[in-house]
């Protein structure tokens, strides 16, 4: 099953990455479509962070190619203007104000599009603009982290453990923002260890294990193929049955979808 080209925003083909003797990613293929929330799941060391960083250009793949909106990324970094990235660790220079952090990113983006301040307002960051980063709590820093990712109305949001450190109210606001982004035609990639949360917000799943894609497809198909009620249960079944074909007949179909 292939996805129509125009719907694919980001495509990675045959990505390999090795650090010394250790192979982190093996021939990873993925299609990120518009109007979707894709959860990248897997145990620690599965290669999720490396894959995210390759998609952003922070890490160079040993092999493979990356296309954004149908064009080969190659040496071009301007595609990052269409990506909003929320790293896992919300660390900013301690002696800058919240206003300084926004202003610096605004200058680097030099965006012609008006910034989206709605999430910053929802997070009350508009009331904290004068405060130094060192005066902010961990949760407030994480809010700033999220607000920066959404600020430039990106076509693709790449969120790494987005709700870590957020209180339930802020977490709900962020999940609503993710859903709104998808409904507005954007693509979202989320990595998280909180599988229940991913089940709530994601409609597609990519499961990585030891650098290999074990499953890539819809959440519904994963649950159905593994006869599971929850994502956690499905992932556990995949992990314990690697090599034993947990998807039965559907494996080839799912992997065919991955390796377009």
């Amino acid at each position: 099953m292939t996805t129509p080209h125009s719907e694919v925003l980001l495509a990675a083909r045959g990505i390999d990455k090795q650090y010394g003797p250790r192979k982190i990613l093996h021939d990873v293929n993925l299609n990120i479509t518009r109007r979707s929330v894709t959860a990248i799941v897997g145990p620690n060391g599965a290669g999720k962070s490396t894959l995210n960083r390759i998609l952003l250009g922070l890490v160079r793949a040993d092999r493979g190619s990356l296309e954004f909106d149908g064009l080969d990324v190659g040496n071009d970094v301007s595609y990052r203007a269409r990506i909003g990235y929320m790293p896992q660790a919300a660390r900013f220079p301690e002696n800058l104000t919240v206003r300084d952090v926004f202003a610096l990113l605004d200058e680097l983006r030099a965006s012609s599009v008006a910034v989206d301040t709605s999430l910053a307002v929802d997070f009350d960051l508009d009331q904290q603009l004068h405060r130094l980063v060192r005066e902010l709590s961990g949760g407030q820093r994480q809010r700033l982290n999220a607000a920066l990712a959404f600020r430039y109305r990106p076509d693709l949001l790449l969120l790494d453990e987005p709700t870590a450190g957020l209180d339930p109210i802020a977490s709900r606001i962020l999940k609503r923002a993710i859903a709104n982004a998808r409904d507005n035609g954007r693509a979202v990639i989320v990595t998280s260890h909180v599988l229940a949360e991913l089940e709530e917000i994601a409609d597609r799943v990519m499961f990585l294990l030891e650098g290999r894609v074990q499953y890539s497809g819809t959440m519904t198909a994963l649950l159905a193929n593994t006869a599971s009620f929850t994502l956690e249960e499905a992932v556990a079944k995949v992990m314990t049955n690697v090599g034993a074909n947990p998807f039965g007949e559907s494996v080839s179909e799912n992997l065919a979808e991955v390796a377009v």
Binding site: I15, G57, R63, D69, Y79, A81, L96, A110, L132, L148
Partner: protein
Amino acid sequence: MTSIVLDDARSASSLSGLSAGASASQTMRAVLRYAIRDMLRNRWMLAYGVGIAGIVEVLFRTTGSGSRALIGILNLVLIIIPLVSVVFGVMYWHSTREFNELLLAQPVKRRALWSGLYLGLIVPLAIAYVAGITAPLLLHRAIDAQSLPILVAMLLAGVALTAIFGGLAMLIGTCVDDRLKGIGLSFAVWIAMTALYDGVVLLVSTSFSDYSLERTMLAFTIANPVDLARTTIVLRTDTSALMGYTGAVIEKFLGTGVGSLAAVAGLGLWIVVPAWLALRAFERRDF
């Protein structure tokens, strides 16, 4: 299958569909401006500048002369500047590492970003040093014909050392992921260049005292930026006569146009090489 080469050299065709981000110079200026803002609010940076000013003030009150105060602080400055620049630089690099990764995820060239980060480290350090040295002398109106050449030599040498050890800090920070190992290595570099090197030079000069070592000593002086800075400053003072025959040879060489060029080239090379290596490492490494 083509391999991905995300080396940030932006091609003519933009994938952004919007604006393609800031230009290289805009990126560098923006990062530099906010890095300076961050550093100038840093308490350690304030302590560095105020500490130097305090020592100059005390020495001035003790000696009653601007030039003597500067000579008095010379060795302290030649030890403190490399220490602060390399150790603080590595610590600062690691404290802003995650933020730098966020900056790298923006549509910016790595080279431009690195330039902003490098200047953002050394410019505030240089400002704190220059202000710390000159403020007390200006307050006491102690800058006269005698102290001015020493002051200028000390400021130029101090700024050069800041750039050299700031570059080494960027190199260590980029190449060594572990913060503690990085700090340990920065201390090792500092000790090697400010103390061990002199020990080796002393060992060579005593072991081969029967031979004519003036040229060798000259080469040793130019090869180490701390020694080169020290010699360049001392030669502007009347204490250079105390350096003996070897000092006279060094003075004779460095006092000429060629010698001055060699000194500037030596310091220039020491600024450029670590900075270039750090930039190369920054452009090539995975974050």
